[in-house]
Amino acid sequence: MLRPRPMKHVRLLVLTEDLPQASLALAQTESFHPDTRPPTESRLTGLPGRDYRDRYNQARSRLDKIAKLIDVPVEEEIQEVRVVELDELSALNDWLGQIWQKTSRYEEDLRRLDDQDRFVREQEAALENFQHLNIDLGMLRSRTRFLDFYVGIVPRENLRQLEGAVALADHLLHLYMQRGENAHVVIVGPTGTKETQLSAVLNAAGFQPIPIPDTLDETPEQIHNELEAQRQDIRDHREGVFQRLSEWSRGFSDRLVEARRTLRLAEPLVTLDPSLHSAGHLAYLAGWVPASEVDGLAGRLRETLSLPFEVQARDPLPEERKLVPTVPVRSRLLQPFALLVKQYGVPEYGEVDPTPLFAVTFLLMFGSMFGDVGQGAVIAALGWYFRTKLGRFGLFGVMAGLSSVAFGFLYGSIFGYEHVLPALWMSPIHDPILMLKIALGYGVVFLVIACLLAIYNRVVIRNWSGAVFGHHGLVNLVFYLSLVWGGLNLGTRGAFGNLPTILVIASLGALAWYNWRHLEAPLGEKVLVVFIETLETIIGYVSNTLSFLRVAAFSLNHVALSIAVFTLANMMGAFGHILTVILGNLFVLVLEGGIVMIQVMRLQYYEGFSRYFSGDGHEFAPLRLRRGTAPS
């Protein structure tokens, strides 16, 4: 369970004509993880999937853009799997290109109507502003004999620069209103030779003239009604555009659904593109396949490919270890824990998968630090109730809650009441020293297991020196066990003991010697580094072991918090008592529950994973054919 699924490197040679069919067959097996490394054979320089990929990407992009404007019904699950050849894909791409060309015109119409609508709103605001002026605005409508008028809006960011530019053309700019990103301006200047100059500048500045209506001398209400009519007209136009679009698209709606299905069938070959290489008619692709699936994959290819092909499978080479994907844990119970492990990293191929160990130690630590039948049951019930929203974490909540319930029975604690339920063992507060001893013992066992796993992980990859002298290797383990032994002697007999002392000194000496040999630095620096690293080994193991005291501390803390809640509750009347107990339990549940969770994760990641788990691997992501009904 801790070991990864064995993988094989599979090399497939097919004729290029059979590539679409081969990609579909591989996708159907869901066991082929493409290897994108170029082949060692120098003649395989062709990229047979490149054209196919480019056409697919363009067609897909066109369909996505079309689907933003035209409702493409969700297609049903793909029943019949068929090969999509390059010619069919090209024809589909061309057809989608034509459809998009027409659709984009509708899109541009809609955008233009949006711009018009915005402009009418600006116009309305401008005219409302003019309404308060005591001048004849009719004069702004047309140029006079001596003066030119421009009334309009300009993007605010261009205002200052435009002001200078119009001044150079002997005009004045007056800002009379700012709305959002637009500035409303009046530009006035002498009629004459610089109009062309000005017009070029106004164009460059994005100036939009606001027409002054002929009916400006009418009542404000009439003007408002006219503008409202314009907006209604724009709305009608928009509806018209949508209607025309809908009528036009009705004729090919089914074809769009079919296009989406076709693209889904073409997808596997596109996904394979970076792994595909060819020479003439011979195509090469490689990938990683779980060893148990290789025969099935070869059988599937034999069933579906009509032209000759060759499949070769071999074990991964030692230097390829980092490239081999790791198949994730499949057990439903372990899934939520796998997600938390993934936050740290994916196990490298060959490395122990820490998920099962993580799950067991997590539940042990959480339950022992937060042991309460009632509060645990609430956590489990919430996890179960919100299981659809929480997904895999729903199950995680249920298991953490049940662990808390189990330890609650051991401690005899329910919603903080310590005397209602008979303890199967004892309440932590009854013997805090014993609790601390157990936590310390647990810490030692945890760290020893972590060191053993670290040694195992190095042995698997034949890193012998790392397994013996590396961080948390065999010598470190000997040192740690000797230290623990000596510590126990000191506690029980009052003396560290000769053999543990010799072992501690010998193991530290061996580590220092190893570090000295592998350090390339001047003598002084070497002495300093070796001394500090040796010291760090001692301090590290001692402090890491003491770190587990928090397991006991939180179990005590839980009881202490409950006592505090009940002390407060006892100071109240009957109603106040009940209310304080409820609120106190909520407080403990949320605050302490959260803190315990964080502390457990910290112990797992820092004291556990950092010792033996590199997390440098990558997950097995096989080629798949998406058959689902959900829109892509």
């Binding site: 620069q161 001044a167 150079l168 610089k194 000005l198 070029a200 460059a204 500045a205």
Partner: protein
């Protein structure tokens, strides 16, 4: 930024600044042949992988830009949000190079591969959403898509101008103008000790850009004073708004040069052509950047000054490599490296 971060940034800049090329090194580089250059700057694999001079040149350019932007990424790590924003705003010029390549590609209906070959591979916090922009099938659609992202100001103005005038020059001028206006806006966000050195640094760059654009727009493209002024981005240094208003109204190249404020008047007194001006203004910006790198207490200004100088060095190196790839004569390469002055008889009057 905490004092530890400031110390880290200053140390980083100081260490990186040791890579900057001094005149003696440039002189010795100009004597090197391609294999020696490639060996010294670790470009050999790039030259070996590519076949044609064009693809080699492109690969080298890409590698040098990646080197520059990689250093930019390192320098922004300890910076505060505002400091990071100003340095990234400067680096976004490369994203706009890509945007211009995309626009030109769409305008001339080039195929996707050809467009893609002309795009730089940029870090995520600088690049445009290229994959989405690639999906656009014409310039208008491309700009509409860009409008939905962080470049909305640039894109909206570019689209409006394109819709009105349908000419690439106006479009690219608008993009450049919005880029520099955005950089100024980022600088003006500071209200602390960083403001003045950043104003000096970015102001010097704007002095250079403004003077070159002014001379080109007025005398090469024959734009009116008001059109020219509108395209410029007033500097916070010498060529501020009022001065630009005066300069764009002048009728000849020489009168513009004569009316420049000190020290530009003395610096450009002998300049006869836009190329002369470009050369001298480049030195002026480099001098200002070196001064800030050496003396300024502002970490972000020093980092930006370093990046500007590093960019100049890498462009120089690229010019040298390209000269060697194209087998240009050493005289031409020396002119590009500014080791010798050009002796071509092209006059300022012609440029005007």
């Amino acid at each position: 930024m905490s004092s530890a971060d400031r110390a880290y940034l200053n140390t980083r800049v100081a260490v990186m600044a040791t890579q900057l090329l001094d005149p003696d090194t440039i002189g010795s580089l100009s004597q090197m042949q391609l294999p020696e250059l490639a060996d010294r700057f670790h470009l050999t694999p790039l030259l070996e992988e590519q076949q044609s001079p064009r693809s080699r040149s492109r690969a080298i350019e890409q590698a040098l830009i990646q080197l520059l932007l990689g250093e930019l990424q390192i320098l922004i790590r300890p910076m505060s949000a505002a400091e990071r924003a100003v340095v990234l705003a400067w680096g976004r010029k490369y994203a706009l190079f890509n945007l211009k390549s995309l626009i030109r590609g769409k305008l001339h209906d080039l195929d996707q591969k050809e467009i893609r070959d002309n795009l730089f591979d940029l870090p995520a916090n600088i690049r445009l959403p290229e994959q989405e922009l690639f999906r656009a099938e014409n310039v208008l659609e491309l700009l509409r898509q860009l409008e939905a992202g962080p470049h909305s100001l640039i894109a909206r103005q570019a689209r409006e101008i394109y819709e009105q005038r349908r000419e690439p020059f106006a479009l690219e001028a608008a993009i450049d103008q919005r880029y520099y206006a955005g950089l100024v806006r980022q600088v003006m966000q500071f209200h602390d000790d960083n403001l003045q050195p950043l104003q000096h640094l970015v102001g010097a760059e704007l002095d250079r850009i403004d003077l070159l654009w002014l001379l080109r727009f007025r005398f090469s493209y024959q734009l009116s004073p008001s059109e020219t002024f509108f395209q410029l981005v007033p500097s916070m240094r010498l060529l501020h708004r009022d001065r630009l208003l005066g300069l764009v109204n002048l009728e000849s190249f020489q009168r513009v040069i004569d009316s420049l404020p000190p020290p530009l008047d003395a610096l450009l007194a002998e300049s006869q052509t836009v190329i002369d001006v470009q050369r001298h203004m480049g030195r002026y910006v480099a001098r200002e950047a070196r001064r800030i790198l050496r003396q300024s207490p502002s970490g972000v200004a020093r980092a930006l000054a370093y990046l500007m100088l590093r960019e100049m060095d890498l462009f120089l190196l690229f010019a040298l490599v390209q000269g060697r790839l194209l087998n240009l004569s050493s005289e031409v390469v020396d002119i590009a490296l500014e080791i010798t002055e050009p002796t071509c008889p092209w006059s300022g009057a012609k440029a005007a």
